[in-house]
């Protein structure tokens, strides 16, 4: 915590007076500790992010009302003109004024955290707010969640800079704002916290977790204060009548996984293809995407905008399964067009939309052929949202909690877990690089892949340890017995185990010198020089012995159930050799020899 955040005690002691002593004591109690102040800052960020997200949502709605009118299916002329013209205007604005607001917002936030030390300029926040509101309100197939996340992170960054936070804390504060923005956009604080941990921060540390949770909660409280506590969707009743019905959801997981792959490939390839166009076309790419989108909208107005209303209606049997399947496909195309063109807006809502349509169509299809299945189309649509979330965005934990929070129905957890896991595993198997990492690589950025970190097989002590040629000495044995054992072995260092104090490492020569003059009946414990050594276990990460070793020649590796049992030793050379071998295997490096 930076110095300037520490409140100064402003009470001066005056000896003698009891009341003054009491006041001093109260003053001390009131004095905020550094970590508490950080939490207070998180609450403040949450409040501002919540307010901003409320305004952002209002802005989208106003723009939509103004440009596309209040009908569910806007007039044809508007459909053809509005997405195209908003695309043109925003294309120019983004290119000329706010180049950092292109795209989703998640990668920009990660870029800010890992490359710009948490710095997000004010004009990026404003640009994201304005451009995303116009683009989404104008009918482009993008969502408001990822921009909200970036707006939240930007607000946190601005507040952090105003308070002159250190570089380390600025880096830390941006994810706090991101969680607040996402929580308010989704009305789902748990999912937002897990997403930020899963996708942006990458680790569960108590320092960041408390702040992220507080900011998410406070932003949701603010948002609900203005917009109400209603969930995003009216959730249909759900019950699982028979465990065999889980097979239906497993099928949804398989289809969802394959669909996620299709979605990722299409967005990545289209984006790369458009990048090859001349630079000046970036001005008109959103307009071209908008025109194509408007043409689609004449027949399928449901694919325009974020599409929450359509998702809600799909859960309540408005559409037949064939139409839901068409909508899922059309939304993939529409979202790829909008997103790849560089229009600022998010992928979360379209992913949910595609998942809901896909789930609904699979549910409807299953009902058609197996009418005994009790799961409603709405339940399948809800599970489908999580499935696409897990398969496309590759955030398995967030996907489960998001569905639970959005539905408020914990009985749906089994289908959600099964379907999400299958989709995630299929996506992981056939698309090694997650979509956000793929996009950042396309942008020429090497952001840390948190999935890689999650999936990485740790190198453990057992991969590097070796057996000790000489068995360890026991302190309860006699000097005579010890001498006999020492004569059998000529190792430079010996390990001695004493019941109470644990493991010790002694030079053979030093030990011989100590015990050679001692009577033979004495126990070794009474004479040997104690040099205590820390131990490690075979399943520990290989980093741990490096940290613990210091100047010691090696460390004992002991059994977890019986710490007196030596399972091997590990030295610095063993560790380095193992790392070198791993490098050879991973990058096909030439052998040092």
């Amino acid at each position: 915590m930076p110095e300037n955040l520490q409140p100064q005690a402003n009470v001066t002691s005056t000896a003698g007076a009891n009341w003054w002593e009491g006041l001093k004591r109260s003053g001390r109690e009131l004095t905020l500790r550094e970590d508490r102040l950080f939490l207070l800052l998180a609450v403040m960020i949450g409040i501002f992010a919540g307010l901003s997200v409320v305004c952002f949502r209002m802005a989208i709605e106003w723009v939509r009302l103004w440009l596309l009118r209040s009908e569910e299916a806007p007039p044809v002329l508007r459909l053809l003109l509005v997405p195209c013209l908003t695309g043109l205007v925003i294309g120019i604005i983004v290119k000329r004024l706010f180049p950092r607001v292109r795209g989703s917002g998640v990668n920009q936030t990660k870029t800010a955290v890992y490359i710009s030390d948490g710095y997000i300029p004010f004009n990026t926040v404003f640009g994201k707010f304005f451009c995303s509101a116009v683009v989404i309100g104008g009918g482009h197939s993008l969502g408001p969640e990822d921009p909200s996340l970036q707006i939240g992170a930007g607000i946190a960054s601005i507040i952090g800079r105003k308070l002159r936070l250190s570089r380390e804390n600025l880096r830390l504060i941006a994810p706090v704002g991101a969680a607040a923005g996402l929580a308010a956009a989704f009305n789902a604080p748990i999912a937002a916290v897990i997403f930020v941990i899963e996708e942006i921060v990458g680790k569960w540390s108590s320092g960041i977790l408390g702040a992220v949770v507080l900011s998410a909660v406070s932003s949701v409280v603010v948002m609900r204060g203005f917009l109400g506590a209603e969930p995003l969707f009216r959730i249909p009743p759900f019950r699982l009548a028979h465990p065999a019905e889980l097979l239906g959801y497993a099928l949804l997981g398989v289809v969802g996984g394959l669909f996620s792959l299709f979605f990722v490939k299409l967005v990545a390839n289209l984006r790369m293809w458009l990048r090859k166009w001349p630079d000046w076309t970036e001005y008109v790419q959103p307009a071209i995407a908008g025109l194509l989108l408007g043409v689609m909208g004449v027949w399928l107005p449901q694919v325009l905008g974020a599409g929450y209303d359509v998702m809600d209606q799909s859960m309540h049997g408005r559409y037949v399964w064939q139409f839901l399947a068409i909508l899922a496909l059309a939304k993939v195309v529409a979202t790829c067009l909008s997103f790849s063109s560089g229009a600022p807006g998010g992928m979360f809502a379209p992913t949910l939309f595609i998942g809901a349509m896909l789930g609904g169509s699979i549910g409807g299809l299953e009902h058609h052929f197996f009418p005994v299945l009790t799961g409603s189309v709405g339940a399948y649509a809800l599970v489908g949202m999580g499935t696409l979330f897990a398969g496309f965005l590759r955030v398995p934990m967030t996907s489960v909690f998001m569905v639970l929070e959005v539905s408020g129905n914990y009985s749906i957890i089994l289908p959600v877990m099964i379907s999400n896991t299958i989709a995630y595993l299929i996506s992981l198997r056939y698309q090694p690089v997650p979509v956000f990492d793929l996009l950042s690589k396309q942008d020429g950025l090497e952001l840390p892949s948190l999935e890689e970190v999650r999936e990485e097989e740790p190198i453990r002590v057992e991969n590097a340890m070796r057996a000790m040629s000489m068995p360890p000495l026991r302190a309860e044995k006699t000097v005579t017995q010890t001498m006999a054992e020492l004569e059998k072995n000529q190792q430079e260092w010996v390990l001695v185990h004493e019941k109470d104090s644990g493991w010790h490492i002694v030079k053979r020569a030093e030990l011989l010198e100590k015990i050679s003059s001692a009577p033979g009946h004495l126990r070794l414990a009474e004479v040997f020089p104690r040099h205590w050594v820390p131990t490690v276990h075979a399943d520990n990460s290989l980093e741990l012995p490096l940290r613990r070793m210091g100047d010691l020649p090696f460390l004992p590796v002991v059994h977890r159930a019986n710490p007196a049992r030596l399972v091997g030793i590990i030295s610095r050379e063993d560790i380095l050799q193992t790392y070198a071998k791993m490098g050879e295997e991973e990058f096909d490096l030439p052998s040092p020899s």
Partner: protein, 355 residues
């Protein structure tokens, strides 16, 4: 910033409310004009701006039900029901969907939940109307016991309302419980002796129980007390005739019974003459298949049935009555309603099917 956000949100909510109101008004107008397809679109547009409005969702569900889109309508309603399970309007709409789907069990459950749930206004009137709808549903699905039970409850719940009790008695009669129906009409008549509907109903219930003379008296009184229904007059004539013709009247001696059987026999002959002349042409013309039984029954009877023959051969009474009843039933189904006497004989036949 709180204030600015508050103002923006408030302005937007006001705008939303206005848009929702406008679309809703358009939807209601279209629904009233039976343009339910347009009404559905209007309500959908309204719901975009007032997604939590129960009334809007109910109206949309109603329009969807009228358009036969039961799945979506039911989903909306079930969702509303989850939030407010005792809302009678929601349960009533669900019951109506179940009725359209002929799902008797679901309809019964939802009708009951509607009746005993919470009505936003006029709970008693709405509950009564729902119960009537339920009874009519039971009657249309031949659930007579259930209809009878509901009708008895309807009467019991409205002890001081003669109109409701008359309706309950009507339902009891339709459910086949003429005794309870008659008892209910008589309770109404104790409250209002001049109630023409109760008098006419009593007549019908008495007819259904085979009390022809009593029925005739009730019909007579109903006419005297202002019943203008021509059907009542005919019922009165038929029941009077049935009272005079009924050969099963326990107060009759043998001669009296034989006289009545002969009258009925003559009436049946007249009916045959007008409706099945082929039966009277002897063996010259082939008899159609559907009349062969009647022809065979007639052959078993003497050509000219007289009182003397009936006195000599009492077993002929039964054979003659069987033929008379079969003639009237067949003629009624093939040639339509006959004279008052024919209708009276058919009534007697209905009362003495086993005999």
């Amino acid at each position: 910033m709180f204030t600015i956000t508050g103002v923006i949100v408030r302005l937007f909510h006001e705008k939303q409310a206005k848009i929702a109101r406008d679309w809703r008004a358009a939807g209601e107008a279209n629904l009233a004009a039976e343009r339910s397809v347009v009404a559905i679109e209007d309500f959908r547009n309204a719901l975009l701006y007032s997604p939590d409005s129960t009334q809007l969702q109910l109206e949309l569900a109603q329009a969807l039900t009228e358009q036969g889109q039961f799945d979506e309508a039911q989903d909306y309603l079930l969702n509303l029901r989850t939030a407010d399970p005792e809302n009678s309007l929601i349960n009533l709409q669900l019951a109506r969907i179940a009725v359209r789907r002929a799902d008797v069990d679901a309809a019964t459950t939802y009708f009951h939940d509607a009746m005993y749930g919470h009505w936003p206004n006029n709970p008693h009137t709405n509950q009564l109307a729902t119960r009537k709808e339920l009874i009519e549903f039971f009657l249309s699905h031949n659930r007579r016991d259930a209809a009878r039970a509901e009708s008895l409850s309807m009467a019991a719940d409205n002890p001081a309302d003669p109109d409701v009790r008359v309706q309950a008695a009507d339902f009891l009669l339709q459910a086949g419980d003429a005794q309870s129906s008659l008892a209910e009409y008589q309770r109404v008549l104790r409250m209002e002796p001049d109630n023409a509907d109760a008098l006419a109903g009593s007549g019908k219930a008495a007819l259904a129980t085979g009390r022809f003379a009593q029925a005739a008296r009730y019909f007579n009184q109903a006419i005297l007390h202002g019943s203008q229904n021509p059907e009542i007059e005919r019922d009165r004539d038929v029941s009077s005739e049935a009272a005079e013709l009924d050969p099963y009247d326990v107060h009759l001696n043998d001669r009296g019974r034989q006289r009545r059987i002969l009258r009925m026999f003559d009436a049946a002959h007249a009916r045959v003459k007008s409706c099945f002349p082929v039966l009277l042409e002897g063996s010259k013309v082939p008899v159609p298949d559907q009349l062969k039984t009647l022809a065979a029954e007639r052959v078993a009877l003497p050509k000219q049935l007289t009182g003397q023959e009936l006195a000599l051969h009492p077993e002929l009474e039964k054979t003659a009555l069987a033929w008379v009843f079969d003639v009237e039933r067949s003629a009624s189904s093939q040639c339509g309603t006959g004279t008052v006497t024919d209708a009276a004989i058919e009534l007697i036949a209905g009362q003495h099917k086993e005999t």
